[in-house]
């Protein structure tokens, strides 16, 4: 083995390794982003100007797909209230984007506290939802006629043997703990995976005049997790 050639070889190898590390450090400083929650970004004044990767839930009704760039608000994943961040998004809108969708947004927080982003990934809506604040069946029925046709959230347990294929007038029946009172549920969408007899579910929708609950979305209660 030629000693000089060997030294040169090691030298060139070192140059390659150092250059690659230099590129990673140089470019990565401007491009890489730390993962932050919505409340962390809101609470941290130092976050302004920093590149962050924020995971949050899209606030229902806060967006308009037509506007360009698109604006919308996000809040912490799973929370139904609490701090929000406004997002201005300058990219193609994923087809899965919508209310309550979990979005992972990478961008820079500007001095107005707005997250400017060109990079968004959406995850499918979580199948779990908190039952906090949802009416029980007894509460719902006690509201009387006044609640008919109004959008409400209710929670209950799936009655044994009540789940039927989609297409019928009743998809399943939910009841309060103990089995009564109960209400028939109409729903044609996809049931959450893992929903079985006795599962606690959280429904969004409205009670119609026939006393059937027209569900718009069906999630498992997060206690089922």
């Amino acid at each position: 083995m030629n000693k000089r050639a060997r030294m040169r070889l090691i030298g060139v190898t070192a140059i390659i390794a150092i250059s690659v590390v230099a590129i990673v450090v140089g470019v990565g400083a401007g491009d890489g982003s730390y993962s932050r929650s919505v409340s962390e970004v809101v609470d941290d004044a130092g976050a302004v100007g920093e590149r962050v990767r924020v995971t949050g839930t899209v606030v229902p009704g806060s967006w308009d797909k037509k506007s360009s760039p698109m604006r919308f608000d996000i809040r912490d994943e799973g929370a139904s209230e609490g701090p929000q961040i406004a997002v201005v998004y300058h990219g193609g809108v994923p087809s899965t984007f919508g209310d309550e969708v979990t979005a992972i947004i990478t961008g820079v927080v500007n001095t107005n506290g707005v997250l400017e982003s060109e990079d968004m990934i959406t995850k499918c809506p979580s199948k779990y939802e908190s039952a906090t604040g949802a009416l029980t069946i007894a509460d719902l029925l006690a509201e009387g006629e006044g609640v008919i046709g109004k959008s409400v959230r209710v929670t209950g347990y799936v009655a044994n043997g009540s789940i039927l294929p989609p297409g019928g007038a009743v998809r399943f029946v939910i009841a309060d703990e103990g089995g009564s009172p109960s209400v028939d549920v109409f729903y044609d969408g996809a049931l959450p995976e893992g929903m079985v007899d006795g599962s606690q579910v959280v429904l969004g929708g409205l009670l119609d005049e026939q006393g059937v609950f027209d569900a718009v979305n069906v999630s498992l209660s997060d206690t089922e997790q």
């Binding site: 083995m1 070889l9 491009d31 193609g92 087809s95 893992g194 079985v196």
Partner: protein, 682 residues
């Protein structure tokens, strides 16, 4: 039936244990006395094959009979009603977390059984121990399959299935996967993954029996080329699928799972070239062992990333702590076994490496390995960074590394075949390279013209103040990449021309007869050159299609006659076709006539499919393919005001990527074509 599946996996597991015990014990007794036991070890390998084959047959049958008592079938059965429906029934087997692991284990048993079949008449110590290692790896996979989240034979909850066996919940194969490329992408990738266990097993086997001869390399080198080829095809098909199905117009996003498939491919390049030096010069012995081990560890890393939930990815399955520790243990164990072996056997695996000069062929192989290893390690580190509390890196960082490393790599790849062992003679080198260099200069000039007239204006469109002289990436990197790509093409071409001409002169044959002879006889070499040529074309295509994409969003009235103009094409809206398939899926298709300079040149029919059972939308993209660019047309939806939202992308030179990819596959295919005879014992 589902329980029977578990039973057969259990049988396979027991057979794997028996095989290892018999092989190890047989070795202890010695070649003569232990022969009976060793034979049992080989036969038990077929037992593993039989058990896993029975399991996967049960699962496949369940997909064909739509047996929804299998939870896995309920969740992953295809709802497709097209002519390809039968194909998607097969695809269901590998469409999810559980089935894909079983599929992988099954491929591994096929490789192990193939080795057993080939080496049974020889039963040399090296093959015996390597087979034991393969079955040891198999045990890890089989045990992982019994972890509940990974088990494909779980029963559905009773409420899921009606009395007539009908499915009561909404579920089924992800519609994005119901595409022809997606039926082929996972199996090819998994064949590559499983196949890379073979060089790993023989590397460890060679360390165990302390045999540093080239025997192990000769046994596994074709399987390794085959596996690397399959891995490449799998990556390529995944890119094609991403391009035509996901609707974002790209084909590579540096997603963690994409990266995971790239890592063993990169180190696989190093492994194959180390094998060449090992066989021809008796050098690079530790490199070969190390690259075999590292490639296999990167294969495991892919599984680890998708199954442990450590990194967020579009591909990721549900998080599972047990799988996390199990696959982590597998990776650390494999790496440790390799490193420990290299240290302990350091003396005998010292190769006859001669580095006499920086411009020798040895050096170029060495830098090939260094670049591939550095690239793989950096990509792995960036990918895993968020898992250990670090930053998440986007495409900008990956691109910033991939471009210079890729350029340097293609340059080395281009000139390597012209270099000489030990020391390259300058005059001789010049005489070989001068014509290819001239030809490359001409091609580069043509590409530079293309850059100035077609690519740079696209860059200006998004960056109006960009200066062509000071843009490091979009001018200098682009042009240098064109130049090295052209050089790779011309050098490889010249090797074929010069070789054929020399042979024609010596043998008095015609030029094309000689060329044919070179390609079909000297397969490893000519296949390698062809692969180099394909890589040269790919890098040229990558410059255009990854750096200079024009992205335009327009909205038009939903009335026939509405039109918009992009990239010299006028799209005139003709109307909408809506259709409900028998499975309740809603298909929407927009018809556009396309005019160029007032002449009707074709039609585009972008659309969307609303999948009923899965409650999901898929974009059906319309692509107009031209030699120098694709026009990529996406229908994004209709807004409340009835305006049609369109997204049109112009992707320059993207066909060059697919074409170069095809040339690379052809080259590697030629290189791996089997010899007539396998090596006997050393």
């Amino acid at each position: 039936m589902a329980n029977l599946g578990n039973l057969f996996m259990g049988v396979a597991l027991v057979a794997a244990f028996i095989s290892i015990a018999a092989l190890v014990w047989g070795r202890k007794l010695g070649a003569k006395e232990g022969e009976g036991l060793t034979n049992i070890g080989y036969l038990a390998t077929y037992g593993v094959l039989a058990g896993v084959t029975a399991s996967i047959a049960i699962l496949t049958a369940a997909f064909f009979s739509e047996d929804f008592t299998f939870e896995y079938v309920a969740q992953h059965h295809s709802t497709d009603v097209s002519a390809l429906a039968w194909l998607y029934k097969f695809a269901g087997v590998w469409a999810g977390r559980e089935g894909s692991l079983l599929f992988w284990a099954w491929l591994l048993t096929m490789f192990a059984a193939y080795i057993a079949y080939k080496r049974m008449s020889i039963t040399d110590e090296l093959s015996n121990m390597s087979l034991a290692v393969l079955n040891f790896v198999q045990i890890f996979f089989l045990v992982a399959l019994f972890i509940p989240l990974n088990n494909p034979f779980k029963l559905s909850p009773e409420s899921w299935v009606g009395p007539g066996g009908e499915l009561l919940i909404r579920g089924g194969m992800n519609p994005l996967l119901q595409h022809w490329a997606m039926t082929l992408h996972p199996p090819t990738l998994f064949i590559g993954y499983a196949g890379l266990a073979v060089p790993f097993a023989f590397a460890i086997g060679a360390l165990i029996v302390n045999d540093s001869s080239k025997l192990w390399v000769e046994i596994v080198d074709r399987i390794t080329v085959f596996s690397w080829l399959m891995l490449g095809i799998g990556i390529g098909l995944g890119s094609v699928w991403a391009y035509v199905v996901l609707g974002w117009g790209g084909y590579w996003a540096w997603d963690p799972v994409e990266n995971a498939s790239l890592l063993p491919w990169l180190t696989g390049v190093g492994l194959l070239h180390s094998f060449t030096v090992y066989k021809r010069r008796g050098g690079f012995k530790k490199w070969a062992v190390m690259m075999a081990v590292v490639s296999f560890v990167f294969v495991l890393l892919g599984t680890f990333i998708t199954r442990s939930g450590v990194v967020q990815s579009v591909h990721a399955f549900q998080q599972d702590e047990l799988s996390f520790w199990w696959f982590l243990a597998m990776m650390v164990g494999s790496l440790f076994a390799g490193l420990y072996g290299i240290v302990v056997r350091g003396e005998s695996f010292k190769g006859a490496d001669e580095f006499d000069s920086l411009t020798s062929k040895e050096s170029s192989y060495y830098f090939n390995n260094v670049l591939m290893l550095v690239a793989a390690v950096v990509v792995a580190a960036l990918t895993l960074s968020p898992a250990v509390g670090g930053k998440t890196y986007g495409p900008a960082t990956f691109d910033a590394i991939a471009r210079p490393v890729g350029i340097l790599y293609v340059f080395i790849m281009a000139v390597c075949p012209l270099l000489m062992w030990r020391k390259t003679d300058g005059t001789l080198f010049w005489s070989k390279i001068k014509w290819p260099l001239l030809a490359a200069g001409v091609i580069t000039a043509a590409l530079a013209y293309l850059w100035w007239t077609m690519l740079w204006p696209i860059h200006l469109f998004t960056n109006p103040y960009a200066n062509p002289l000071t843009s490091v990436t979009h001018t200098w990197e682009a042009l240098i990449a064109f130049a090295v790509g052209a050089l790779a093409v011309t050098v490889a071409s010249s090797l074929f021309i010069v070789g054929a001409r020399k042979r024609a002169e010596a043998k008095g044959e015609g030029f094309f007869g000689s060329l044919f002879h070179i390609i079909t006889r000297a397969r490893t070499q000519s296949g390698g050159y062809l692969t180099h040529l394909g890589m040269g074309i790919i890098i040229i295509g990558l410059v255009g299609s990854s750096m200079f994409v024009k992205d335009v969003r327009v909205s038009i009235d939903g009335q026939p006659g509405a039109e918009f103009e992009v990239g010299g094409f006028t799209f005139v809206f003709q109307g909408v076709e809506e259709q409900t398939l028998p499975n309740q899926d809603q298909v929407t298709r927009l018809n556009f006539d396309i005019y160029r300079d007032g002449q009707l040149t074709g039609t585009a029919t972008p659309g969307q499919v609303q999948y009923s059972r899965q409650d999901q939308t898929r974009l059906d993209v319309s692509v107009i393919v031209e030699p120098l660019r694709d026009i990529f047309v996406v229908f994004e939806g209709t807004d409340q005001a009835g305006q049609i939202q369109m997204n049109v992308k112009i992707n320059p030179l993207i066909s060059w990527v697919w074409f170069g990819f095809a040339v690379t596959i052809l080259g590697t295919g030629i290189a791996m074509w089997p010899r007539r005879q396998l090596p006997a014992s050393a």
